[in-house]
């Protein structure tokens, strides 16, 4: 990928990310120093992802990795794909004002990142587009085989089953945000999947909430009966659904559970999709609630430095599912912080993103200089 193509993709991501960020705006949490660890992690991503992506690509092509994300239970998904392209760009943006962008490395590094992302994202979607933004806010993650299986395993829920379903959905939503340090890495929606009978399927995946490479999961999550749950929510045909690349769905009307035609809960813990019995839902909910309370206490008891490093680890390891699928995760160094130590102390004190007047005339991500002048 040459400089002009790198710049085209920088501009592409910048326009989309500017618009998405403007809709959401705030990132902070009174529990954890979100802004500081995002910036630290993104600098690590800019400096380290290119070489890590090369090693992953040497084992498995980005196209094969993207295609692997079309199976339930995989964490190669729209959120991770958006992130592996945008985190390095954001890290570069933070480093540039300090003159810390290595110009000799800048173009080839970004070319590696953007090429990896482009090939994987195209194979993940398989609809000729690269992101939901390009496709009218649709994430068609699953093909007809998975969609058919989800719909076939869904049924009209009685009142009690519906209550249990809603309660589990709620608990998992907050628990996955907590487990993943206020990111959408563990929980996200895809679709809409229009069905032949006029109804529409919205799929919600809660991934990897059992014991994982997160140190805080080892005892907190040990009692959870599942690590991955997929909710199939079949909605009436008059419900309009959109999803974005951060895994957020919107529905019109907003209370989609009032328009639930059928539902099913599945797990892909053993690889294949298998149904979870409705009478299990309440028990899972209670276990998740206990885990959530314990995890909150654990995180609240961490020092600021521990929270920073844990959050930075979550963000930095957005690339890890790709490495795991390629079978090279054990060969890569996931230590964080490692390559951000020159700026770590300065960033560690940030409590929120600096207030900057929005100026659409300035590129969201600075293009690569054609002349060799520092960005």
């Amino acid at each position: 990928m040459k400089t002009d193509e790198v710049n085209r993709w920088i501009e592409y991501h910048g326009k989309i990310s500017r618009a998405m960020t403007a809709e959401r705006t705030a990132l902070e949490s009174a529990l954890i120093p979100v802004t500081a660890y995002i910036l630290i992690a993104c600098i690590e991503c800019y400096r380290r992802y290119p070489e890590m992506m090369q090693e992953i690509t040497a084992a498995t092509s980005p196209e094969a990795l993207g295609a692997a994300g079309r199976s339930p239970g995989s964490q190669i998904d729209a959120v991770h794909l958006w992130s592996i392209a945008n985190f390095p760009l954001l890290g570069r943006q933070v480093l540039a004002p300090f003159g810390l962008v290595d110009l000799d490395r800048d173009v080839p590094a970004l070319a590696t990142v953007l090429d990896f992302w482009k090939r994987a994202a195209g194979a993940f979607r398989a609809d000729g587009e690269l992101q939901a933004w390009d496709a009218g806010l649709r994430v068609p993650r699953y093909g007809p085989d998975v969609v058919d299986a989800l719909v076939a395993g869904s049924r009209t829920a009685g009142d009690e089953e519906r209550r249990h379903l809603i309660r589990l959905n709620r608990l998992l939503t907050t628990f996955l945000f907590l487990l993943y340090f206020d990111t959408r890495a563990g929980y996200q929606d895809t679709g809409p999947y229009p069905l032949a009978d006029g109804r529409v399927l919205l799929v919600r995946d809660f991934n990897r909430f059992g014991v994982s490479h997160f140190p805080w999961s080892r005892d907190i999550c040990a009692e959870l009966p599942y690590s991955n749950l997929t909710f199939a929510l079949v909605l009436d045909g008059d419900v309009r659904v959109t999803t974005n690349d951060w895994g957020t769905s919107t529905t019109d009307p907003p209370d989609y559970f009032d328009h639930l035609s059928a539902a099913g809960v599945f797990t892909a813990d053993d690889g294949a999709l298998s149904p979870v019995a409705p009478d299990e839902l309440d028990g899972i909910t209670h276990t998740v609630k206990d885990a959530q309370r314990n995890l909150y206490r654990r995180i609240a008891g961490m020092s600021r430095r521990e929270k920073l490093d844990a959050g930075a680890y979550v963000y930095f390891t957005f690339l890890r599912p790709f490495a795991e699928t390629a079978g090279v995760d054990d060969r890569l160094d996931w230590t964080v912080p490692r390559d951000s130590l020159d700026v770590y102390e300065g960033l560690a004190t940030l409590d929120k993103m600096p207030d900057v007047e929005a100026d659409d005339s300035i590129p969201y991500y600075t293009p690569v200089p054609e002349t060799g002048v520092a960005p």
């Binding site: 809709e23 705006t25 705030a26 907050t174 945000f177 206020d182 959530q292």
Partner: protein, 158 residues
Amino acid sequence: MRSRSESCPFAQCSHARGAFPPLWHGERIAQQARACGKLGRVGHEVLGRGTKVFEAAPVQGEWRRLEEPDDVLELMDESAAGVVACVTDAGATFLAPIFDELTAVVCLSGTPVSHIGIVSREYQVPCVMGATLDAEPADGDRVEVDCSGDDGIVRLAP
């Protein structure tokens, strides 16, 4: 009631600890707010407004400004039932273990697609995002969060 730039005149005498009857406190709030031209009549005074996450009928609860994880842990150990939580930041994690008990959330930043907005939608807990408060209740005051109109509105409870 205090303006955003003033200290709360009742900060040291919270009726929540029994020092003053709630009605007395509420009336003093109303008087003070009327004096600065913000309020109309006792019971329906608009204290602030923002963007509602979803449409919901008005709900009433006890105002609590939550600023530290210890504030949440306290409610987790006691109960967050009937609480209208006011928070500064729009992350989803801060209120996680008590969300299912809250009556409403008022967030002073963010938008409906911020993480806390996403969670409030799932929990069907009425939520006002990016709220601006002309006058802030003291902890323990009864307030109403009304997401039935175009905006999300915070009022003193009737």
